[in-house]
């Protein structure tokens, strides 16, 4: 086989994704209190692969190769350390006997068991006793195979902050004795909501961050979608709300390429070139939204996905079904009465009803005093109702609040028209 063909055989992010899978499986085998051992075994495995595959000896089944090496390293570790008492109660007994040790390890590396382990890991990382930002950091570290520097870069923060978040999560796992398990049925919906919220945060971090590097933002969005997909595929967790969230992510992601111009400035929905929207993702968005209809439930994700679907279906900004969007925002506000939803509802009312109504609604919102988009929107409504002096004041405040250069650029353009 041609060498270049060999290179292409390795899928994007193979190491990253296999690392996430293997850490989940090994943590299940060794117990979550041995998470660091699991991470060490995986790091060793990848290192071994890197050193031998570099010489053009990529195996036919790269993932299978990695799993086999990780299995052997885990078996070696268990034989050597004999730490069975510290290992989770589920496997300690089976691992003590040489007769069942190896079959037990092999069993856990079967495809459906890998998915099961990942699912358990998601519930552990998003345990309600772990602070939300630590949940997201631990998820990225264990399930997505991102390093602390990579997470810090994506979150526009320093490595120390991320290390602390991961550390706090690991401390909670120890102090709360969090195990790798799928919650029992009556607890499941609530625990699932915590997982979904974490996925939603992860996605938004990628989608709304104004990071100059596109790739990192897209990586976060992709990871959130990958994990959400896993939830929709597993019989225990395939609730309509998971499909609704995945649908929302598909719609949002379909616009990623249309959101930035060549200078990486943000292009508002209004001015986006709709022919750049990625149709296959829009189609998937509709498919998941359809699938989310039964059994009947209305989650905030359903409403947000429905709003995104109306934007996706609109041929132009002006021909958008603003009346329905405004109505959906009203319903969303019932479920989630927070100032950000109120702001979006007000903005929709500008097109569904009129600009004055939007301005009135916006001015009533409390709690967004430091939100640049809030100030920019009020400026916009003053601008649209021909009160340019007022508009200038609000745009000016917005500029002072945003650290994003592309947003500042956008606002300066607006101000030059006032």
């Amino acid at each position: 086989m041609m060498l270049s063909g060999k290179i292409q055989e390795l899928t994007d992010h193979l190491f990253r994704h296999e690392s996430g899978k293997m850490i989940a499986v090994l943590s299940r085998l060794l117990g979550l209190n041995n998470l660091e051992t699991a991470q060490d075994i995986v790091q060793d495995t990848l290192l071994q692969a890197m050193n031998s595959w570099s010489y053009n000896t990529i195996p036919d089944n790269p993932a299978g190769w990695l799993h086999r090496v990780a299995k052997n390293k885990a078996i070696d570790f268990l034989r050597r350390e004999k730490k069975f008492k510290e290992i989770g109660p589920h496997y300690a007994y089976l691992l003590q006997s040489e007769y069942s040790l190896s079959p037990t390890v092999h069993q856990l590396f079967l495809e459906n068991e890998i998915e099961d382990s990942q699912l358990r890991m998601m519930f552990a990382c998003c345990h309600p006793s772990i602070p939300a930002e630590s949940q997201v950091a631990l998820t990225l570290k264990t399930l997505c195979g991102l390093s602390v520097p990579e997470i810090a870069k994506a979150f526009l923060t320093n490595e120390e902050t991320i290390s602390k978040r991961v550390y706090r999560a690991k401390e909670k796992i120890k102090s709360e004795k969090i195990e790798l398990e799928v919650p029992v049925s009556e607890e499941l919906p609530e625990r699932l909501d915590a997982v979904l919220k974490s996925m939603y945060l992860l996605f938004n971090e990628g989608y709304y961050s104004s990071h100059p590097e596109n790739l990192i933002r897209e990586d976060l969005c992709q990871e959130a979608m990958r994990l959400c997909l896993l939830l929709t595929q597993h019989t225990l967790t395939s609730y309509p709300r998971c499909k609704a969230l995945l649908s929302l992510m598909c719609f949002q992601c379909s616009r990623l390429n249309a959101r930035l111009d060549d200078q990486k400035n943000i292009i508002l929905l209004k001015h986006q070139d709709r022919s750049k929207w990625f149709l296959p993702l829009i189609q998937q968005g509709f498919d998941y939204l359809d699938a989310a209809a039964e059994p009947f439930e209305v989650s905030t994700y359903h409403l947000e996905a429905a709003i995104a679907s109306l934007h996706a279906a609109a041929p132009t900004f002006e021909k958008t079904d603003w009346a329905s969007i405004y109505h959906l925002y009203e319903m969303l506000y019932q479920l989630q009465p927070n100032p950000v939803v109120a702001m979006n509802k007000a903005i929709a009312s500008a097109y569904a009803i009129n600009k004055q109504k939007a301005l009135d609604e916006l001015l009533q919102i409390k709690g967004l005093e430091n939100n640049p988009l809030y100030h920019a929107s009020i400026g916009e409504m003053y601008f649209e109702t021909d009160q340019k002096e007022e508009a200038l004041k609000w745009f000016n405040k917005a500029i002072g609040l945003t650290s994003s250069q592309s947003e500042q650029q956008l606002l300066r353009e607006k101000m030059s028209l006032c």
Binding site: I7, M50, W53, S54
Partner: protein
């Protein structure tokens, strides 16, 4: 022959490791296309050191410093030492503190 030393100890993320591996593959690919690559193998860490009369001393090792450990070798075709050195300069491991020995294989005329 290119002998690679002090390689294989990056502390990078899975993604960085995969990218680094990709650089090696791309390098081999490039050499192969130019008919300069004749083969190569990675070496596993560890091994034994045999010495003394009759090889009576067998120890674990070679225990040399990390930067001296041989990680693998390439056999390449180069017209002279200068070209071989130019090829060796393309090795992706220098950023990780690696080094490369460039040695000429002696051809015995029969």
């Amino acid at each position: 022959m290119l002998i690679f030393q002090g390689t294989g100890v990056p502390t990078g993320s899975p993604e960085e490791m995969q990218i680094h591996m990709g650089k090696w593959m791309a390098w081999i690919d490039k050499l192969a296309k130019a008919d300069q690559y004749a083969g190569g193998e990675p070496l596993l860490p560890g091994g034994k050191l045999v010495s003394g009369a009759g090889g009576k001393n067998v120890t674990d090792g070679p225990y040399t410093e990390g930067k001296e450990i041989v990680g693998g070798y390439f056999i390449i075709n180069a017209k002279d030492m200068a070209e071989a050195v130019e090829i060796a300069k393309e090795c992706p491991d220098y950023e990780l503190g690696g080094s490369t020995q460039v040695r000429q294989v002696m051809k015995m005329d029969m």
